[in-house]
C-alpha cells in the first residue's frame, strides 16, 4: 500500500458537515472473517467430476431412462417426475410457444443479428422481450393467485371474484382475455386438450370464469388469448408464474435463433450511422440555432423549483417532453415475493 499519511484534503471531503473524517478512512481490502467460506448453495443441482445431479436425479441416467427435456423441466423446477399426460401437455404448450411470427422476440433477435454478433446474444436479447405486457406470464399468474385467494378468504364465488378481477384489470395487457384470438381457435384448443388429458385444474377453471366475465363487460368481442391459455395451463401443470415466464421465454428463444440465422443469411449487416430517421417522423421542437456558449446564462433555464406548487407546475410541463420520463410512473419493488403486480409504465 502506498504511503498516504500526509494526504491533502480533497474537494469537499474535509467539510465540517461530513459525518466522518474522510482523510483517515481506511484503504486496503477486507480480510476474510470467521464465517464458513463462500460456496454456491443450491437446491436445484450439483455436479462433481463424475456426475451431474438435478434434484437428486443423475441427469445422464434420466436421459438414458428415456426422460427428455420436457420431463426435466418438471424435475428442475418442481423437483418431480411428471405424469405422462403432464409431459404431453407441456410438449403441446411448448410447441404453441415456439413461434409467433415476427413479434417482439424475433424482431429483437433480428435487430441484434444485424450488428454481427454471436447467435447467443440475439437469443438472450429475445428473452428480454418478455415483460409485463408481452408474454406477461408472471403478472398473469400472480394475478390469478391473488384473486383465487380471495375466493377462500372473502367467501366469494369463483364467478364473483372473476368479475371483480375483470373490473379491476379490464385494460391490463396481462388479463389473458382480449380480441387477439377471435378467429384463431388455438387458445381454446389448448384448454380442451388439457381437459382431455385430465390435467386441467383450478387455474383453467378460474380463467374460464374470467373469460365469461370479460365477455359480459366488454362491448367489443373478446375471448381467451394465448397468454391466458398458456399461463393457466402451465399453472395447472404446477409451474409457478415465474417458472412459466422463464420456460415460455426460453422456448420462444429457440425460434429467435432461427430468425437470427435467417436475418444473417438473407440480410446485410448494419453500420453505425447508417440508419436514417426521416424528418416527417419527428415531432419535437422545430430546428433552432445553437446559442453561443458565451450567452449560456442568457439562454439557460435552471431546473430547480422551490415550492411544491412550482414543482408540480414544472412536473406537468416536463410531461410534454416525450423521452424525458416524466409521464412514466413505476413502483419498482423487490420481485422476490411477487413479480408483475407492481405498476410499470404509464
Amino acid at each position: 500500500m502506498g504511503n498516504l499519511e500526509n494526504k491533502k484534503v480533497v474537494g469537499n471531503l474535509g467539510d465540517e458537515r461530513m459525518p466522518f473524517d474522510y482523510s483517515t478512512r481506511e484503504y486496503g481490502t477486507v480480510p476474510p472473517d470467521d464465517r464458513d467460506p463462500f460456496r454456491w448453495v443450491s437446491e436445484v443441482a450439483y455436479k462433481n467430476v463424475h456426475r451431474i445431479v438435478a434434484r437428486g436425479y443423475d441427469t445422464t441416467e434420466l436421459v438414458e431412462q428415456g426422460y427428455g427435456l420436457v420431463d426435466i423441466l418438471f424435475v428442475n423446477l418442481q423437483s418431480r417426475i411428471p405424469l405422462i399426460e403432464e409431459d404431453q401437455m407441456l410438449n403441446y404448450v411448448m410447441i404453441m410457444s415456439l413461434e409467433d411470427g415476427l413479434s417482439l422476440p424475433a424482431a429483437i433477435s433480428r435487430i441484434v443479428a444485424q450488428s454481427k454478433t454471436f447467435l447467443t446474444q440475439a437469443c438472450g436479447a429475445s428473452i428480454l422481450a418478455f415483460g409485463h405486457a408481452y408474454g406477461a406470464y408472471s403478472a398473469f399468474g400472480n394475478m390469478l393467485i391473488d384473486y383465487l385467494a380471495r375466493v377462500e378468504k372473502e367467501g366469494k364465488t369463483l364467478a364473483g371474484v372473476a368479475e371483480l378481477l375483470v373490473q379491476e384489470h379490464l385494460d391490463d395487457e396481462a388479463l389473458g382475455v382480449s380480441g387477439l384470438m377471435i378467429k384463431d381457435p388455438a387458445a381454446k384448443r389448448m384448454f380442451a386438450r388439457a381437459e382431455k388429458l385430465g390435467v386441467a385444474g383450478k387455474y383453467i377453471a378460474f380463467t374460464k370464469e374470467i373469460v365469461k366475465a370479460a365477455q359480459k363487460i366488454n362491448k367489443e368481442s373478446v375471448d381467451l388469448d394465448m397468454l391466458g391459455a398458456t399461463g393457466a395451463t402451465m399453472m395447472d401443470l404446477g409451474f409457478t408464474p415465474e417458472a412459466t415466464w422463464a420456460i415460455i421465454a426460453v422456448t420462444r428463444s429457440f425460434a429467435a435463433g432461427a430468425h437470427y440465422i435467417e436475418e444473417v443469411e438473407r440480410g446485410s449487416y448494419a453500420r453505425l450511422g447508417q440508419s436514417l430517421t426521416p424528418k416527417e417522423d419527428y415531432d419535437g421542437p422545430a430546428d433552432r440555432p445553437v446559442p453561443p456558449l458565451a450567452e449560456r446564462d442568457k439562454n439557460a433555464e435552471p431546473a430547480q423549483t422551490h415550492t411544491i406548487e412550482e414543482w408540480k407546475k414544472a412536473f406537468e410541463e416536463r410531461k410534454k417532453t416525450y423521452g424525458s420520463g416524466y409521464s412514466i410512473v413505476e413502483e419498482i419493488e423487490d420481485p422476490s415475493q411477487k413479480t408483475g403486480i407492481k405498476k410499470v409504465g404509464r
Partner: protein, 298 residues
C-alpha cells in the same frame, strides 16, 4: 388494437394471421393437436422437416442431457444478475449470453468439422486421415482441440460418451460422428505419445457431432444447446430469488456471501493520492512519460 406488422421482412420461417400461426407451412396448433413433440417442432423450425422417430429420440435425449449443468458460467451469470433483483428474464437472458467462445462453443466446433470434412473432400482424403491432420494442426499450433476436455469433469464428461453411444444405438451415425470419433482417437494417441494425461471428449464434441448428423447447421445446433440451458439457469435464478438473499453480500448470513467484501483480492496499483486539477497536467504528463501505467492497460 393495432395489429400491423412490427417489423417487415421476407421470411421462410413463419407467418401469423388472425386465424393461425404457421411455421414452415405447418399450422402450429395442428402439430400440437396431432401429438408431435417439442423436439419434432425444433426440426421443423430449423430444418423445415418432420424428423424420423429415432432422430426425435436423439434430440430429446441430447437436450435432456444439456439442460442442467449445475455451476457453469451460465448459472453463475444468472445468479449474479438475479442478485440485483431485476425482472427474471434479465437473468435468464444473461445465462444464455454466457455461451461464447469457450462455454459450450457449439457453433465453432461445427464449423471446424465442416471445414475439415470439406478439406477431406477437396484433397481426396478419408475422414480418418483428415481427423489426424486436424489434431496435428491444432496441437502443433498449441490450440485446444474443440470438443475435447472439460475443466470440471476432468476424467470425462458424464454426458459425452453416453451421447455417442446413444447416437450409434439409434442408428444415427453419419460422417460427423465418424469424423469426431477419429478426432478423439488421434487426440488421445498424440497426448499419450507426449506423455500427457487422458482428456475425454466433452459434451460439445459428442453432442454437436450428433446434432450435425441430425441435420442441424452449426449455429442451429448451438442455439439448441445454449438456449436449452436457459431453462435450468432460470431454476437457479429462481432459487436465489425466492430463497436467497438479494445482493449476495450480507454479513448476517452464516456463510460468506458471493460478493462479500472479503472476496475481493486486489492486485492493482498501490493506493495513491488523487491529483488536484492544478497539478493535473504536469502529473498526467509525467505519468505518461514514465509509462508505468502501460502494464495495467487492459
Amino acid at each position: 388494437m393495432n395489429r400491423e406488422p412490427l417489423f417487415r421482412r421476407k421470411t421462410a420461417i413463419s407467418y401469423k394471421t388472425e386465424e393461425k400461426t404457421v411455421m414452415r407451412g405447418y399450422d402450429l396448433s395442428e402439430m400440437a393437436e396431432e401429438g408431435y413433440s417439442f423436439s419434432d417442432a425444433l426440426f421443423v423450425l430449423f430444418q423445415s422437416r418432420i424428423p424420423t422417430q429415432n432422430e426425435e429420440k436423439m434430440l430429446k435425449y441430447e437436450m435432456g442431457a444439456f439442460l442442467e449443468h449445475s455451476m457453469s458460467p451460465s448459472a453463475a451469470g444468472a445468479i449474479g444478475v438475479i442478485n440485483g433483483r431485476p425482472n427474471l428474464p434479465a437473468a435468464v437472458a444473461a445465462s444464455v449470453m454466457t455461451f461464447g467462445g469457450v462455454h459450450g462453443p457449439g457453433a465453432a466446433h461445427g464449423y471446424m468439422m465442416n471445414k475439415y470434412i470439406e478439406r477431406a473432400r477437396v484433397e481426396g482424403k478419408s475422414l480418418d486421415e483428415m481427423a489426424k491432420i486436424l489434431v496435428d494442426e491444432y496441437m502443433d499450433a498449441q490450440k485446444p482441440v474443440m470438443g475435447m476436455g472439460q475443466p470440471q469433469h476432468r476424467d470425462s464428461d458424464p454426458r459425452a460418451e453416453p451421447i455417442h453411444i446413444k447416437q450409434e444405438e439409434l442408428g444415427l451415425n453419419g460422417v460427423y460422428l465418424e469424423f469426431q470419433r477419429a478426432v478423439e482417437k488421434y487426440f488421445h494417441a498424440r497426448r499419450k505419445k507426449e506423455g500427457k494425461s487422458h482428456v475425454g471428449v466433452n459434451v460439445v464434441g459428442a453432442g454437436n457431432a450428433a446434432l450435425c448428423d441430425l441435420g442441424f447447421a452449426p449455429n442451429a445446433a448451438w442455439c439448441l444447446g445454449s438456449v436449452c440451458r436457459g431453462y435450468s439457469c432460470a431454476a437457479h435464478a429462481l432459487y436465489h430469488m425466492k430463497k436467497g438473499r438479494a445482493w449476495g453480500a450480507s454479513k448476517n448470513e452464516p456463510m460468506v456471501q458471493m460478493i462479500d467484501l472479503s472476496m475481493i483480492k486486489y492486485i492493482g496499483p498501490e493506493d495513491r493520492e488523487v491529483p488536484s486539477q492544478e497539478e493535473r497536467q504536469e502529473y498526467a504528463r509525467k505519468q505518461k512519460e514514465e509509462g508505468e501505467y502501460k502494464k495495467w492497460v487492459i
